[in-house]
């Protein structure tokens, strides 16, 4: 079912960030990523921070007068990535999955930011800031992918 209300946007963002945190926490505990433990645990912390940022922006800027009911038309399936991984996946494949996750989340924040900009400027600004963070994370992951691609199975 498409997302039409700000409340649903908030819940979906929380779901995405929760899923992201879980994914990176899992990676940080995997033996094959032992050299990148901190890298992934920082990503998980980042997800939790983004979740807080979104919630705060929402709760502090929502008022009864803003256009919360009719501004959004987002399709959840456009932003969801399955994070289920089979045990045999190599590091590059997993990092590719992480890049895809960040791309989809970034797209979600950009789209939600665009659709919320009519009156909810603080929310729109927060979404765009987080989208920028997601883009930076994609670059870091791409770098990591390049580093790992040579020596490991895809």
């Amino acid at each position: 079912m498409e997302i039409r209300t700000l409340s649903a946007v908030l819940s979906f963002a929380e779901k995405l960030e929760g899923q992201g945190a879980e994914f990176y926490e899992d990676l940080s505990n995997q033996e094959k990523f032992s050299e990148n433990r901190n890298f992934f645990s920082d990503f998980a912390k980042g997800n939790r921070k983004h979740k807080q940022q979104v919630k705060r922006a929402y709760q502090e800027s929502i008022t009864d007068a803003f256009e919360t009911g009719g501004s959004f038309n987002l399709e959840p399936s456009d932003y969801l990535v399955s994070i289920a991984m089979s045990g045999g996946l190599g590091q590059p494949a997993i990092i590719k999955k992480a890049i895809e996750l960040e791309e989809k989340m970034g797209k979600f924040y950009l789209d939600a930011g665009d659709q919320s900009k009519s009156l909810l400027a603080d929310i729109s600004r927060t979404f765009k800031l987080i989208a920028k963070k997601k883009s930076e994370r994609q670059n870091k992951l791409r770098y990591l992918y390049q580093e790992n691609k040579g020596g490991l199975d895809d």
Partner: protein, 495 residues
């Protein structure tokens, strides 16, 4: 999409909060219903006159010490209340959806607005300052101080059960007064929650009292000699009576009353950005708000623009998802009561009798989810509405939009100003000239330019003109500080 968890698990038995104690009432008890489910969620007493008198007495007893409490100490109570409200933000919001029916986004917006009032009132040491001038004559100085008056009564409407008392109570208590709030018996639960937090915040007993009830309790407040002023929000019909009674008993009064708000769309308006604002204005809170759009005036003689705009509005209105407000996918909740739905339904029938064209009929509602239809309506749109039709003149207080045309801006402003009400009016345009002309000439207390709901923030007064407001000083902002204080003049000379 999943329905959010309900914070009220069993039927609540509501008590009055008087003198810092939770006291049962001897009055009759009435049901508070969740309008989406048609299910009783609380039992609220209709307190007796004696019980109201006891609350006024408790407030009067608390007043001498409270007014002597330094403003910064009073402000600290409000700071603590603000923190507690933030901590219970979600619970309070969900309670509002349960007792009123509004969507969860709307409830959270209402909670935020309420908290903002408390935040602004914490600035009371600055807000309450007087002024002075040395040497008004040689060696003589003059001072003005603002002093609290005593006990105030607050009689809010049902449509914003949490927020409306907060337009007044934080400012009243911050200035050193004591209050007796009589919430609407239709949706009093969030006021119970608020009083619990007031108690936890450490307000001294008797400063903040809540007495539940109906007309008898309201009359008792209006007639009580020790009440210095009344803040009332409700219909013009009752508001006029309240204002009259306040005059007879020498009380100050803020009376915020009914509305019939016009939204003008100029030919140069941006349809893409205007539409969400219009939908929110007409259908937000299911149209049960004094700032809701009611008459949509499309300005100009361009038939193609008119058709395109109205078709788009009707189409978007028809697509709004209606259901239980705790379901996050819902864009419009039910009416707050069966009576409310019946009243709106009668207006729709009246509009048809008067010859308006029913473009979208919300009387047989399509509801998302398996809920009883008792309180639900869908958005309704009338076209070809003439200004002298009853549906164009009277407050409907429901999700009904009346579309009319005006030849030009002059014609449109004339239509707005012909209304007996003057609560809010908005224009959608990209022309500064049109906007300036509109805000200058329109007779409405809250004016929006490309804003659908021109709701003033806590630090500005809530405007209102003509039959939408009775009184001199308004709620919120600097006005309300003046309302809750007496200006005392001191002129001194030393020999």
């Amino acid at each position: 999409m999943a329905v959010l968890e309900e914070p009220l698990k069993e039927v609540m038995k509501i008590k009055n909060y008087v003198g810092g104690e939770w006291i049962g009432s001897k009055g009759k008890v009435t049901d508070v219903k969740n309008p989406a489910l048609c299910k009783t969620i609380a039992k609220v007493p209709l307190s007796t006159r004696d019980e109201v008198n006891a609350a006024v007495e408790a407030a009067g007893d608390a007043f001498p010490e409270w007014r002597r409490t330094p403003p910064i100490t009073r402000a600290r109570c409000l700071f603590r209340l603000k923190e507690l409200l933030e901590g219970h933000f979600e619970e309070i919001s969900r309670i509002q959806t349960m007792e009123h029916g509004k969507t969860i986004d709307e409830s959270r917006g209402e909670t935020r607005r309420g908290i903002e009032m408390v935040e602004v009132a914490t600035g009371i040491p600055s807000l309450m300052m007087g002024y002075n001038l040395e040497d008004i004559a040689t060696g003589i100085d003059e001072y003005l101080v603002h002093q609290p008056l005593g006990v105030f009564g607050i009689i809010p409407a049902f449509n914003f059960p949490f927020m409306i008392p907060l337009w007044f109570a934080p400012f009243a208590t911050a200035t050193g007064n004591c209050v007796v709030i009589k919430p609407s018996p239709r949706d009093p639960i969030s006021q119970v929650k608020l009083a619990e937090l007031v108690e936890e915040a450490g307000f001294p007993p008797g400063v903040w009292n809540v007495v539940h009830g109906g007309a008898e309790a309201a009359s008792a407040l209006l007639e009580h000699q020790d009440i210095k002023g009344i803040a009332f929000v409700g219909s013009t019909r009752v508001g006029k009576e309240v204002y009259k009674k306040c005059g007879e008993t020498g009380k100050r009064a803020i009376v915020q009353a009914s509305a019939k708000n016009f939204l003008l769309v100029m030919p140069d308006a941006d349809p893409r950005r205007s539409l969400p604002a219009l939908l929110s204005s007409f259908y937000g809170n299911a149209g049960q708000r004094c700032l809701a759009g009611s008459n949509l005036v499309i300005v100009g003689e361009d038939d193609a623009f008119y058709k395109r705009f109205v078709d788009g509005f009707v189409d978007a209105s028809s697509k709004l998802r209606v259901g239980y407000g705790l379901d996050e996918s819902i864009q419009m909740g039910p009416m707050q009561s069966v009576d409310g739905k019946e009243r709106v339904t009668k207006f729709i029938e009246r509009g048809m009798e008067e010859g308006a064209k029913l473009r979208l009929d919300g009387r047989k509602p399509k509801i998302s989810g398996d809920y009883p239809p008792s309180c639900f309506l869908n958005p309704t749109v009338f076209e070809d509405v003439a200004p002298d039709m009853e549906i164009a003149k009277e407050e409907i207080f429901g999700p009904v939009a009346n579309v009319m045309r005006a030849k030009n801006l002059d014609d449109a402003i004339e239509k707005v100003n012909r209304s007996r009400y003057g609560n809010a009016a908005s224009i959608f345009t990209s022309s500064g000239k049109y906007a300036r002309e509109f805000k200058y000439r329109v007779q409405a207390g809250n004016v929006g330019i490309n804003i659908g709901v021109a709701a003033p923030m806590a630090f500005f007064p809530f405007g209102g003109m003509k039959d939408s407001f009775f009184g001199v000083l308004h709620g919120q902002g600097r006005d309300v500080i003046r309302f809750f204080t007496e200006s005392k003049i001191l002129i001194q000379r030393w020999f």
